[in-house]
Symmetry: C2
Subunit: 350 residues, 2 copies
Amino acid sequence: MNGVRIKDVAAKAGVSTATVSRVLHDNGYVSAAARERVEDALRESGYRINAVARELRKRRTITIGLILHGALSNPFVTEVVVGAEHAAAEQGFSVLLFNARGDAEREYECVETLLSRRVDGIVFTTAVSGDNVQRVVDAGVAAVEIERRLCPAAASVVVDNYDGAQEAMKHLLELGHRRIGYIGEPFPEAQARHEATDIARRRFDAYRDALREAGEPFDEACVVRGDYPREQGGWGGLETGAAYMDRLLAQAPDLTAVFAASDLLAAGALQTLYARGVRVPDRMSLVGFDDTFAPHLAPPLSTVRQPMFEMGFKAASLAITLITDDRAEPPVERCAMSLVVRATTARPGA
Amino acid sequence: MNGVRIKDVAAKAGVSTATVSRVLHDNGYVSAAARERVEDALRESGYRINAVARELRKRRTITIGLILHGALSNPFVTEVVVGAEHAAAEQGFSVLLFNARGDAEREYECVETLLSRRVDGIVFTTAVSGDNVQRVVDAGVAAVEIERRLCPAAASVVVDNYDGAQEAMKHLLELGHRRIGYIGEPFPEAQARHEATDIARRRFDAYRDALREAGEPFDEACVVRGDYPREQGGWGGLETGAAYMDRLLAQAPDLTAVFAASDLLAAGALQTLYARGVRVPDRMSLVGFDDTFAPHLAPPLSTVRQPMFEMGFKAASLAITLITDDRAEPPVERCAMSLVVRATTARPGA
DNA sequence: CTGTTAGCGCTTTCAA
DNA sequence: TTGAAAGCGCTAACAG
């Protein structure tokens, strides 16, 4: 560790530590002569401020914590992190990154660590437990949740999944599709409406409503949602998408388009379509959701874009704002989804 | 900020701060009675240690810095980060994340910030400037470079690109392919051998050597490497892969297999192949490199896997080891590449 | 077994 | 315009 202290610089320049501190932060009165001597001493000694000492003294760390869940491999989370880091860096904040890997217990520990490190704010890239978020609020530290809203006392950055899915359906309907299938994640109908399960539910609701509004009868055969729990380790993943598409092809052979509730599911579907020799979009149109690796697929996938970078950016900005400004009502920022049309959608039979 | 100090707990328990500290860290002698009283006081007061104060006092932050470059969107970097975080967390370390976005200047600033924050070590997920790495070494802080070795005084975690590419070629050759194309990134032949450009060069060298060893004549027409600089904003990307494959198809129509120097390039190639109606692997085999989104493609891409998680994990572990252990020679850890066979490779004309 | 005390390196009154 | 000095909250001798 670099051992040059402010005291050493002061000695070298023949002034007090207070004076050095003043020139360091350019505040208070310092004579030109003294300033010059200090600046020389600073340069010659290769002084580097000790941020830890300053943080202790000022009781502010200029740091925010970012908690995410294993799925950093998930491109969604990745972009959120990039956005958050970007916003933080712009304001001179550092980012402490923790991965709670989907576990509430571990999330709790991350929160505790972050709190004892005295971060100024914490961003949850999707919290697992509302209690953990509440803990942050209770500690008087700015808390921001992304995507899911588990703790009403915390600020949040959300997105309207219903809107997004609606855009996708509108696109398909406008192209002239009538028989449209749905591949998605399960959500126990019976279960109370958690914000969590709501994501899947709202995407599905938009699908069903769009069909109804178009005067199309709702047909169970067009939907594969796997109402079983995370079995065979593949839930919500690539294999699931592939398997669902297979089922769809068998159950509803007259489908001309499919709406997949995530890019991952869509990627799996595309694999089945490729294997079965069903040309996309000629014989089947496909729309995904997220816009993660949609552009990489063959053909490039039309999808609903979640503004991931923006969400991360806003969340971090919000956290930083909240540090100083504390208002009564925790703000809820909404980000807009948008449809990105690429090459998997066309008129039926085109 | 939670205002409960060790002093408050001590007062409440009727002991000195030293005793509280002792029970907190479970060292030194503490009578059962005192311990109990302190533990009660700890619980009742909701005490949370102030890590900043401890860090200042102990002159150790139990934190490592992680510098990466914009390309967190790059799944490669992502996995490295996950691995590094994992290793750090396992050892009780926190991770401070900075994005220098490919810029040496910004990288310099990240280093300075990290150094003034007194991190115990810094991991460069590919450093931009060797001087910046050297700065860390000079400050007496553990430095580890991933993938690229720019500073001989720092430790590093590397991978053998030649080996990896060789695996890919071996696979293709063993399947019986003879006319094998190459799509890759350019590397100015003329330029001095930087470790940087070496990555592309070594992958290509393996391609050429494998062909030679198989007794196949080297044919320029089978190679598209774009010896032009990053023009049209698409260098090394998806569009590049698509365009290169198009050229390859025109230049060397008798190719039965192609080795793409990255998954991204391969994804682009797959798009062209799909558009042209060239079935994979029936009429064309394709191998990628990296194993990032290879499994998501249709068909799932056979590729050379870089152990990204492992590299990140090892880098962070190495950094942490170096913090205590400091040996004369900075260690260089090598990770092995491995071929992952999926569905884009088969015997020619199968 | 326990308490006192001297800092860690910095900022910031306060008085000169 | 400057310096002395009092902490920020914690740890670790050292003395008892």
